[in-house]
Structure formats: structure tokens, C-alpha cells
Amino acid sequence: MKLDRRQFLATGLAGGAAALVGGRAHAQQEALRIGVLTPLTGGGTVYGTTMSRMYTLVADEINKSGGVAGKQIQLFTEDAQTNPDAGVRGARKLVDVNRVHAILGTWSSAVTLAVAPIAVQARIPLFCVSSSPAISTFKDDDFLYRTAYSQAVISTVYATTAQKLGFKKAALLILNNPYGIGLGDSFPDRFAKVGGTVTGKVIYNPNQSSYRSEIQQALAGKPDVILFGGYTPDGIQVFKEWFQLGLGGTWMGPGFALDQKFIQGIGAQASEGIVVVEGAPNLQSSAYKNADKLYRAAHNQEADFFAAMAYDHLMVVALSVLAGNGNTAGDSIKANIRKISNPPGKVVGSWADASAAIKAGEKVNYEGASSACDFDDNGDVQTDFGVYHIKSGRWVLDRVIKFGELKTT
């Protein structure tokens, strides 16, 4: 059987062309086109899925009440796969084919840093939930915003928490990626400032056959606590091996890694006593109450920190477009972001309140579901934090640490 190369070529080109034409038809309507670039696979799957759902819920709510200055919100979703390369390809499609007016939802720092130049070049805003400190200082012409905390900040939270819980010596077991490395760089100084010492910093790679030696290394200096800087999948593996080594020790780590899926993965016994630190949603705000209500109605689950951030992303962009009288150009959106989300102004949290106020010509101050959403010059916000202990397989709140309590330098 001899395959005719020309036939193959023709089929391939026809398929490709058909696909391109099909893609083109999507981009024609007058709408507010939003690119959703979340991790639907890979280490960030759970959060990417949550965020995608929330974007859909918010878009539906806004569209039902007439859209943004008459324009319906159209969502285009690409899977960033928790992988910068996939993220770049997805971003290219969103920008070049779907002609989106903003990109929302990049989760992994590696993805955000790879996609940011594309957004900047296209002059559209990018809203992320990544934690790498490099994002604050990225030359983004003010197009890059994040609603999450920087590793630099959460290092202070970890240090403060460790001090409050009486830990004097800490070891670090961190993933070899921007988020883990960022944590490893920023934690030791901050811990030293509150009188603690770091006994060791062990970096691991994902997908190793065994983590026994890394765990052994981390415990070598007899630390009071081990700070875990990884994700859920590798977290499950690491903690399983640690538990089965029977060496004891107390652990502390981020909420997005030590969540319910993690607890299910290693069981209540192995997870008992782990200290969890996570961004606390802006629980008192009307925005959070609205976000929570939306999410519970559709998915029978409370809106966590990531869902709250997704709510804020789309709300901020939509309100910025509304404040610009429906102007969807990236520069116009950018110009309005702080106008609608930073003080002074009438405090608003839901689309109904905010759009009414803006239409009436009032200056608003959007207080978000994940934080007050007051963006500083770098596009960062200040969030509060919750410290939890895992008891009998659930997170139990120990205390809330407000941003103002942190001595950040």
C-alpha cells in the first residue's frame, strides 16, 4: 500500500483550512470577548476548573441583565495545561484568532510569565492568580494584574505564623519551579527577621520515583516545622512517603496544595496536624457573598479563594469596559481598572449595584470577593490570610492574619 503524498497533503490542508475558516466565524460579533486561559489539566486542574466555572457564572449573570453597555460577554477557553508552552500556544490563538479583549485566569507562574509578553504586545490586560515575585516587577506597561499574593508576601505570612505557633527552626522542601524557588528565596530572610533559622532547603523535581532522600534531608537539621512548597499531586506523593518513613515532624504549606483532594489522597491520619496557610477571601464583602451564592447554586460548593479571584477578574474587566462607555480596547480597559476598583468611591460588590452606580455617573470602588482589589502600581493587591490546622480530615480555622498585621519590607 503506497500512500500518495499529494492526497495526504490535500487532506491535511483542507482540514486545516476548514478549521481556520470555522474559527474565523466566531470572532465576528460585536461583543466583549474574554479569553479564559486556565489550567484544565496538569497540576492546576482543580483550580483551573473552579475558575473556569466562575467565569461562566459571572458572564451569564452579566449577560442576563443586558450585558456590558449592550455588549454580550463571549468567553473563549483554552487549556493552559499548567505548562508554559501550551499556555503560549493557547494565548496566541486567543489573541490572533478569537481577538479577545482580555485574558483571564493564568494560574501557574511559569505560564503567566510566558503569556505576559503576548498580552503586552497585543495591548490587552492579563489577570493572573500566580505567586511568583517576578510578576510584580515584570515590564508589562501596566497590562499585567494579579489578585493573588506574591510569594514574597506569603513568606512573611509563613514566618509570622511560624513565630506565633512557636516554631524556631524551619526546613524547606520546595518544588523546582518559579513558585517553589520564589518561596525558597524569600522565606529565609523573613523568618530571620522574627528570630527563626532555616536548617535546610531541599529542592525536588516532580515525577521522581522516590522522595525518601529529599525528605530525609529536610528532616536532617531537626526542624520544628517543614515548609512545603509544592502542588497537590507531588504533595500527595511526598507526604505518603514521609508518613511511611515514620519519622514524625510538623508540616506547613499552602492551601491550594493541601486541599480536600490532598487530604483524600493521603488520608486523615497522615494529614493530621498540618498547618495550612491560604489567602482568605474577603468574606464580609457583598462581592464574596454574591460569588458564593452563584457558585453554591450551580455547583453545591462554597466559593474558595480561587473562585473568588475569578469572580473579581471578570467583574473588574466588565466594570472597566462599562466605565469607558463600552470601549473594549485594551488601553481603555487598562485606564479604567484603578478608577473603578481603587478608592475613593462608592463601595460596590455586585454587578447590579456597580453598573447602576456607574450608569448614574458615580465614582465606584469595587471591593472584591478575594480582596479589596485595590491595585498598586505593580498591579498587585493586598489580601488577608487564614491559618488553618487539618483536624480529622478537615481544615479548622486557627486565626486570620490581616494584611496590615504583616511587617512587610
Binding site: T45, N176, I203, S209, S210, Q217, A220, F243, G246
Partner: protein, 301 residues
């Protein structure tokens, strides 16, 4: 980096011995898993005469079939493992036969490329069906047994025992049975075997069955101790090939010894270099071996 921080920590001498023992135990565990892959690979490399890059993926196959029985169908782990191995054989042997024995190829390069294709297909079919997330068997976590610096859970003990038993079984098969003699003869000189009337085709079928059986078991043990993910086999290509090459291609006994060397060397190396470079150890061992002792460490150079 990990290595530097290790040296910053002052440690008493008995700590160092304890650490060595711990690393040796881990090395033996890794070696057990590698051996189950490398022995089969060495057999097929010696008899079918090509480098089957997809061989470690048969380990992955065993882990996933067992997962399907254990977690998806609710069968207790022990039975699920047996069913899983059987299923892996039912799927793997026909695939291997079709791809490697039945297709009209004119040279080993084509088999090499075909094996890449097989690897792609196996890994991504599994990805398609089970998704890409890390999976685990439905078995409870265990506390370890502790003898001084030696810490082993029952799963790890099972791993060591099963690997040893299977390795012994392979030895007995090769040295005491008619099939074993035929296999060894084919590895030495296939043409002569054909002439002498040996049923080479059937022996080749048996070879695939043995190799895939070992690999599937290795994959199950890997999943029992660690995690199950679609690339778990592919990630082991370099270490398994290194073990087989160190032992001398076509020499299953050598593969066992090679696995020990790679496993132990990899773990001991973490005393000096960051553990991320363990694969570099395996690769360097393989490269050096091929450059200076291409027939394996135990051959006459």
C-alpha cells in the same frame, strides 16, 4: 541547592552511617523496580535484537490495568494485581507481536521507530482513558517496621521479596527448562537455532510473555510504593536501559546486577550531588560502559 544545605548541617558520625544505610535500602528498592524492567528488556534486546524503547511502558500498562480492577471495579488489591498482570499480558503481548514481529520491516531502525510509535500510543491511550492526574491504588497507608536505621513498610518488603523471587524464577527458567535453553540459544545464534529445528516463533512468543509479565509486575509494585501516572514507564527509559546495558545486552543476569548498580549508585550519589541529577548518573554509567566495555561490565572487554 539541596547538596549545599546538606553540608551546612553538621552531623555526627553515626548519623552518616544511618544515612548510608537508609540510602542503601532505598537503592535496593529502586533496583528491584529497575530489575523487573531491565531483565525483560535484556531478554528482548538479545532475542528480538532491537532496542524496544516502549518496554518500560509495559510497566505502566500493568499499573493501570491493576488500577482499573482495584479502584474502578473495587477488587481488593491482591486479586486486582493478579487480574492486572493477566490483563497486561492479554493487551501487551498481541501489541508487541503485531508491532514488532508481524509488520514487514527491513531493518532494525524501523523497529526502533516503531517502538517510539508504540510508546506514544500506549502512553496516550492510557492518558485518554484515565486522564493525566497522579493515581494511587486503594490500599491503606502503612507505618514502617524499624530496625535501627532501616525503615521499611510492608509494601516495600513485598517489593523486595517479589523482585527477588521473580528474578530467581527467571534464573531457574533460563537454566533448567527447555524453553530457557532455547531462549539462550536464540540469543547466541538465531540462525543456527532455526536450522536445528527449534520452534523459534513460539519461543519468541514466550519471550514477550515473560518480559511483559516482569514489566507489569514491576509497574504494579512501583504504583504500590509511589504513584501511577502515564509517563511512569517513559521516565524510566534511561535507568532501565542503563541497567540492561551495564549487564550486557541479552544477559538477564547482568541486567539484575546492572539494576543494583544503577539503583545504589543513584541513591548514594545524593550525598554529593543534588538528587535531581540521579538520572544523570544512570546515563553517564550507560555512556561510559558503552564507550569502554560495550559488552557489559561483566564481560571480557
Amino acid at each position: 541547592m539541596g547538596a549545599r544545605s546538606r553540608h551546612q548541617v553538621r552531623r555526627a558520625e553515626d548519623d552518616l552511617i544511618g544515612e548510608l544505610v537508609h540510602l542503601t535500602v532505598t537503592g535496593l528498592l529502586v533496583a528491584s523496580l529497575l530489575a523487573l524492567g531491565a531483565v525483560g528488556l535484556s531478554l528482548t534486546f538479545g532475542i528480538a535484537r532491537f532496542a524496544n524503547v516502549a518496554h518500560p511502558d509495559f510497566m505502566m500498562l500493568g499499573a493501570y490495568t491493576t488500577f482499573a480492577f482495584n479502584v474502578l471495579a473495587g477488587v481488593p488489591f491482591g486479586w486486582a494485581a493478579l487480574l492486572g498482570v493477566a490483563a497486561a499480558l492479554l493487551v501487551g503481548v498481541p501489541v508487541a507481536r503485531l508491532a514488532y514481529d508481524k509488520l514487514p520491516v527491513t531493518g532494525t531502525v524501523q523497529l526502533l521507530i516503531i517502538s517510539i510509535g508504540v510508546s506514544f500510543i500506549l502512553r496516550h491511550v492510557v492518558l485518554f482513558i484515565f486522564g493525566g492526574s497522579l493515581l494511587q491504588f486503594a490500599v491503606p497507608l502503612q507505618r514502617p517496621y524499624v530496625w535501627g536505621p532501616v525503615r521499611l513498610t510492608v509494601y516495600q518488603i513485598i517489593t523486595l521479596v517479589v523482585a527477588a523471587v521473580l528474578v530467581l524464577a527467571v534464573h531457574l527458567l533460563l537454566s533448567r527448562t527447555k524453553l530457557g535453553r532455547i531462549l539462550r540459544a536464540i540469543a547466541d545464534n538465531p540462525v543456527l537455532c532455526e536450522i536445528a529445528g527449534a520452534d523459534v516463533a513460539r519461543a519468541q512468543l514466550a519471550m514477550w510473555a515473560i518480559a511483559i509479565f516482569l514489566a507489569a509486575t514491576g509497574g504494579i509494585l512501583f504504583g504500590l510504593n509511589l504513584v501511577i501516572q502515564p509517563n511512569m514507564g517513559w521516565d524510566l527509559v534511561i535507568p532501565i536501559f542503563s541497567a540492561a546495558i551495564l549487564g550486557g545486552i541479552g544477559n538477564p543476569y547482568g541486567a539484575m546486577a546492572g539494576a543494583l548498580v544503577i539503583g545504589l549508585a543513584g541513591e548514594w550519589s545524593t550525598l554529593i550531588i543534588p538528587s535531581a541529577y540521579k538520572e544523570a548518573i544512570a546515563f553517564s554509567a550507560m555512556a561510559l560502559c558503552l564507550m569502554f566495555r560495550p559488552r557489559g561490565l561483566w564481560s571480557a572487554a
